[in-house]
């Protein structure tokens, strides 16, 4: 009873408050009122990650807020995602993708009771996100914490991949460690699972005897002829003497990808690079892109000689004549690509960290990140001039918005205000856009 009264009182209060806000809003600075996008324009959705217990871990849920292109580019405009946003369905950091035109957000809830639930929102400005087309749950195929990306096929398809916990063979003698892979494609227009497949992916018997195995799959990419998916791998090794996970600094194999037929998702095959030795799984977003030259460019992580960009040619094999070492191109050591986006004409914007980068105040395991403009065709790279900060890191970063010649990024140090930056992909010029009001402990993980 008391509770109901409290509720009633708070409603009355809220109504009063709303009235007050409306009556006051005319006094506010004009930059506070978002303008509607004109025709030809589009919405930009900013994603903020709330902390969970430790500042900067971004695991306390995800909040979205959308603004017009004009507002996004306006350095005078202030956006308060955390205050005014929309809490997207995901108990932890949501796995977000967007349509190329920014009108639709795609989300797969990560963890919790709704983990694995794919939903689609129409972007209608500010905190107005309307769920459309029903929900589809892929958790049975890919778990409640699935790894997925959309394919660049006109926003029709998303693909999620997973591997069951790899198990050591039975018996007293070590032979292999294997899991079972699942690939599932989602029809994002009708919001349905369109196809699924499941298979074991043994390595060569020599590799298996030494303990190597695929521990995780991620980031599928559609090839130029749209008949194969290239899936990134995260490798792990069992110590054949103990049957336990090898946590030493063992020798790594050449970087591997799994190739399956598309759209059947069958016929798995492994390809191996002789150039890179890192994993090809990325972390929270895309890790390989199809370029106009018909080749797929793929970044590596945990590469002993720093991250490389590898080329997979039209025959779906690694082109080992191509090698781009980020260490060499930037003159750094032990680089690590955290998130990146190919924007055309060989140009890529790459978020990375490297040895010697400052350690974050918040998380001793987390290093400062940087953004580089990389030319994949001329094998050159340069750091983009941004106001970097020891607490600015991008390992959770998911969204670069590409609109015409402009590439948008939304960055801030943990707990400090940041900005949208608009980068001209042709000239490389960087313009400061809208201010992102932050809150201590939180950060931004993308603009879509």
């Amino acid at each position: 009873m008391k509770n109901r009264l409290t509720k009633l009182a708070s409603y009355i209060f809220l109504i009063g408050l709303t009235g007050a806000t409306i009556s006051c809003s005319s006094d506010d600075s004009p930059s506070e009122t978002p303008t509607q996008p004109e025709t030809e324009s589009r919405w930009f959705t900013i994603a903020g990650a709330i902390m969970d217990k430790t500042p900067g871990n971004g695991n306390g849920g995800t909040v979205l807020y959308s603004v017009s292109e004009e507002n996004a580019q306006d350095p005078e405009f202030e956006i308060n995602v955390f205050e005014n946003g929309y809490q997207v369905k995901s108990q932890r950091t949501a796995r977000l993708q967007s349509s190329a035109d920014g009108s639709t957000m795609f989300n797969i809830a990560y963890g919790g009771d709704i983990g694995g639930e794919f939903s689609k929102y129409t972007v209608e400005g500010e905190n107005n996100f309307t769920q459309t087309g029903g929900v589809v749950n892929i958790s049975q195929y890919a778990g409640t914490s699935p790894r997925w990306v959309k394919l660049f096929d006109g926003d029709q398809t998303g693909v999620a991949v997973s591997v069951t916990s790899p198990q050591v063979n039975e018996g007293d003698e070590y032979q292999y460690t294997r899991g079972t892979a699942s690939v599932v494609s989602i029809d994002m227009e009708d919001v349905l699972i369109s196809r699924n497949s499941s298979f074991e992916i043994p390595l060569t018997s020599e590799e298996e005897k030494e303990g190597y195995h695929i521990f995780r799959l991620d980031v599928p990419t559609l090839n130029a002829s749209k008949d194969k998916l290239i899936i990134g791998t995260w490798m792990r090794k069992t110590d054949p003497e103990t049957g336990l996970t090898d946590d030493t600094d063992y020798e790594r194999l050449g970087s591997k990808s799994v190739i399956v037929d598309y759209p059947s998702l069958e016929n798995p095959k492994i390809i191996t690079s002789t150039v890179g030795e890192g994993d090809t799984s990325g972390y929270r977003s895309f890790n390989s892109f199809l370029a106009e030259d018909g080749n797929i460019y793929q970044a590596t992580q945990r590469d002993p000689n720093g991250s490389h960009f590898l080329k997979i040619d039209a025959s779906n094999e690694y082109d080992n004549s191509y090698a781009l070492s980020l260490d060499d191109a930037l003159g750094i050591t032990n680089s690590y690509v955290e998130s990146w986006r190919y924007v055309g004409n060989g140009i890529a914007y790459v978020m990375y960290t490297h040895d010697g980068a400052s350690v974050s105040n918040f998380n001793s395991g987390q290093q400062q990140s940087f953004l580089a403009r990389v030319d994949l065709f001329s094998n050159t790279a340069e750091r983009v001039d941004l106001p970097y900060d020891a607490d600015m890191y991008f390992f959770q970063y998911q969204g670069f918005a590409v609109d015409g010649d402009n590439v948008f990024v939304a960055v801030s140090p943990v707990g400090k205000d940041g900005n949208i930056y608009v980068i001209n992909k042709v000239t490389g010029a960087v313009t400061k856009g809208a201010k992102l009001l932050n809150e201590p402990g939180n950060h931004f993980i993308g603009i879509f």
Partner: protein, 810 residues
């Protein structure tokens, strides 16, 4: 005059239940006509075959006297013996009795008798404590956890029906910061087959719930509070048995027999229990859906199909009571066994099939206690050896829907679980624990005003694991875990101003040794050899606290207690537990908390036929390095397993209040309300800015609960001398979120657990001979969706019938 009224109150109250074995502390004083204390006078209660002598101040005490009417005799050399009848009945509050007799020597002697219920005695020491007397409930279809849940400031969070996993929240503190004891021994000694799910209220004398401040005698690192289960201490010859059957094919049976030889003091006790439930209650709503091959949801109503629970066990004890060299000496054996199917993980959105946990335990104990071993010196000792075993079985590799059928993919093939088995990777984990647990106490009373207590707890647990599903090679490399804990406490108790002022001060010293052995392979003389690598971690800590109570007026007592409490990481928190999905974290450190309770108890007051009492308590828990289960982590997050970690700081502030109203000794209304606000208390980030989550509620914790319990007794209903009791209970839990809510933005509503009103009703009929009690209960009358945890539905409407039979001869 006022005091006499209270005394009168006590004497007229009538026991509604037969064979009342509720025990009280019975204290008194012997003085002569000049009001001078008589030391070494003898006091006997012939009916109970017990006796004692007065101390230097003329005081005497009997512990654990069952209710009933007794002749009490006082004798002293040179004086004439005095015998007087006293009735000890229920409910007991407090009584002072004074009677006079003429003597040979024409002098007048007085024997002052005072009876205090143990409940009242404990509750008025100054601690924030609930004493739950289980007797009345033992005749009803109530589980121990339900009783606790109705108690003020306690929230029991169950993951399902009978046998489901349980988390206790005392004033906002939960998880491993709450320690549970059986007769002062950590419950982990007894294992999960002999826990509060399997022990019926009929086996329990009373439950003490200490909130925030825990007395030194319960020597363990109970940072947030302690629940101490006192098992029945039988007297005389008695047999009782009960059988309960109800919805979801639920059986709960209990048997207890006690024999005592008056001459030799020999006693034998045997009791047993058997519980079974299919727990196939219906679930529905947004968390209950079958996922179709195309990923769409089909919302269904379904019966839980993998949730059966069975437990059985026996307690036997043989020894001597009230002999010259011991008040009690006994050896005992407790054996128990349980089988528990697991329907789902942390959320019920994914049903499991074929996952189950089996547990068994064999516990041997030795008890010795003696009062006045030397003048004013009491000793008690309780030692146990336990071997317990847990097997987690999870090998079924397919996904199932809520109808218990395999989920099929688009091609019509069954879909594999993402991790290979229902909850994670396939497992047949076998965990064997050997536990030694000793508790010893020395009580020294300088006089009736000052008392010292030294207590020591030694606890040693050795854990061996195996997993038959692993390859022979891997099984050869499973490590071992050992934990040893020593807790010493020193307590000083003071009673001044005619016992109006009571104070307790205590200090505790904790020492914990954790050893771990992991086999590795090393190069020795060019050969690869299996070598056992040892690690160990030693943590010590100390804490202190105290409690003060002051009886301002008769029946109005003010209570204050505080403790700087410590909790050491448990074996599971350091090394993990496969069955509980806990991952190892060897780097975890101790948690500390400054706890404070301030409150009062008023009553029982009487105005004509109305009696009422009121109690209220405010509390603060300021916790640092809090140990909580990590809900979220960056990497390797595909598995529903997580370690415990030091979260930082939290602060709980809140209050409890309880109101009791009795009319004409027929109507008894108990209302309590409890608000516990647990908030994130790490204030600044490294730049000195106030974190957005500072002072925000910790997710997934209910923070406002209330309970109303009504009982009405009808005498001579249908039959003369019979009693019909009618019961009604309503429980309210306010809504809460399962995600951080720094502010209520749009879309947050989907993370909310709705507010709940759950109503239960029941009746019990006591037959005229008082040997037989029949009771009937309906739980969740309106079949509401009930949640203790987010996305985990508890049972709907259920009916239970219970029959109790008891026979006793004192």
């Amino acid at each position: 005059m006022y005091k006499l009224q209270i005394i009168f109150l006590f004497l007229i109250s009538v026991s509604a239940f037969p064979q009342a074995t509720k025990n009280v502390i019975f204290e008194g004083k012997v003085v002569n006509s000049e009001n001078k204390s008589l030391a070494w006078a003898t006091i006997t209660i012939p009916k109970l075959k017990i006796g004692t002598t007065t101390d230097i101040d003329g005081n005497f005490t009997f512990q654990n006297i069952p209710s009933g009417t007794y002749e009490v005799t006082a004798s002293f050399l040179g004086y004439k013996s005095l015998t007087k009848s006293i009735e000890i009945s229920i409910p007991v509050t407090e009584v002072n009795m004074q009677f006079v007799l003429k003597e040979d020597s024409e002098s007048l002697d007085e024997v002052l008798l005072k009876v205090t219920s143990i409940k009242s005695e404990i509750e008025k020491k100054g601690f924030a404590v609930n004493v739950i007397e289980t007797e009345e409930s033992s005749f009803r279809n109530l589980q121990t956890n339900e009783l606790l849940n109705r108690s003020v400031g306690v929230k029991v969070r169950r993951n399902g029906g009978l046998g489901s996993s349980v988390d206790y929240n005392l004033n906002g503190m939960s998880g491993n910061s709450i320690k549970i004891f059986i007769d002062g021994i950590p419950i982990s000694t007894y294992g999960s087959s002999f826990d509060l799910n399997s022990i019926s209220p009929a086996m329990i004398e009373r439950i003490e719930v200490y909130k925030g401040v825990v007395p030194g005698e319960l020597s363990d690192d109970a940072l947030g509070g302690a629940i101490n289960i006192i098992l029945k201490k039988d007297i005389g010859n008695a047999i009782n048995a009960s059988l309960s059957y109800g919805s979801f094919n639920t059986f709960q049976t209990n048997f207890n027999a006690h024999y005592q030889n008056d001459k030799s003091g020999l006693f034998v006790k045997a009791s047993g229990f058997y519980n079974y439930s299919d727990n196939d209650y219906e679930v529905w709503g947004k968390f209950v859906r079958n996922i179709l091959p195309n990923g769409r949801y089909d919302y269904v109503r379904a019966k839980r199909f993998n949730d059966a629970y069975r437990s059985f066990g026996a307690i036997t004890e043989v020894g001597f009571k009230q002999v010259k060299w011991a008040d009690k000496i006994s050896v005992g054996y407790t054996g128990s066994n349980s089988y528990n199917e697991i329907q789902h993980g942390a959320y019920m959105s994914i049903p499991y099939k074929g996952r189950f946990v089996e547990a068994k335990a064999n516990v041997f104990n030795l008890i010795y206690n003696k009062t006045n071993i030397a003048k004013g010196l009491d000793i008690d000792f309780h030692g146990l050896y336990s071997n317990r075993n847990t097997v987690v079985n999870d090998t079924v590799k397919y996904n199932y829907n809520w109808f218990g059928e395999k989920s099929l993919d688009l091609n019509g093939n069954p879909i594999l679980r993402p991790q290979g088995a229902q909850q994670g990777a396939p497992t047949l984990a076998n965990i064997d624990r050997d536990i030694f647990s000793f508790r010893a106490g020395l009580h020294y009373a300088i006089n009736n005003k000052h008392k010292f207590i030294v207590n020591h707890l030694f606890y040693d647990i050795a854990r061996r694991e195996d997993d038959e599903i692993l390859s022979g090679l891997q099984r050869n490399f499973i490590g071992t875990r050992d934990l040893q804990k020593n807790v010493t406490s020193l307590t000083y108790e003071m009673r001044l101003f005619e016992e109006k002022f009571k104070a307790t001060a205590f200090g505790k010293y904790y020492k914990q040794d954790i050893q771990k052995m992991d086999p590795v392979v090393e190069d020795i003389n060019g050969e690869r050899v299996r070598v056992e690598k040892d690690f160990s971690k030693q943590i010590s800590a100390s804490g202190f606290g105290g409690a003060v109570s002051y009886l301002i007026k008769p029946a109005f007592v003010v209570l204050v207690s505080a403790e700087q409490a410590v909790r050491l990481p448990s074996e599971n928190e350091v090394f993990g537990d496969v069955g509980e999905n806990i991952v190892e974290n060897a780097g975890i450190s101790a948690e500390t908390s400054n706890n404070l309770n301030i409150g009062f108890k008023a009553g029982l007051y009487q105005v004509k036929n109305h009696k009422f009492s009121f109690a209220m308590s405010g509390f603060l828990r300021d916790t640092k390095d809090k140990i909580v289960r990590r809900t979220q982590s960056n990497l390797n997050d595909a598995v529903q397993t997580a370690p415990f970690e030091n979260l930082g700081k939290t602060k709980s502030i809140g209050f409890d209040a309880e109101l009791n109203y009795i009319f004409n000794n027929k109507l008894d209304v108990l209302f309590n309300v409890s608000k516990f606000d647990t908030r994130f208390n790490s204030k600044y980030d490294n730049n000195g800015n106030v974190l957005s989550l500072y002072n925000v509620q910790i997710p997934n914790e209910p923070f406002f609960t209330s309970n109303l319990n009504v009982k009405y007794a009808l005498d001579s209903f249908l039959q003369k001398e019979s009693t019909l009791n009618l019961f009604y209970n309503i429980q309210y839990v306010d809504s809460f979120y399962n995600i951080w809510v720094p502010r209520e933005v749009r879309g947050i509503e989907q993370f909310q657990v709705p507010e709940q009103f759950i109503q239960d009703a029941g009746l019990s009929y006591v037959f005229p001979e008082k040997n037989l009690v029949l009771s009937f209960d309906v739980k969740n009358i309106f079949n509401k969706q009930s949640y203790d945890n987010f996305a985990v539905q508890r049972p709907g409407r259920a009916f239970y019938l219970k029959m109790n039979y008891s026979l006793s001869k004192l």
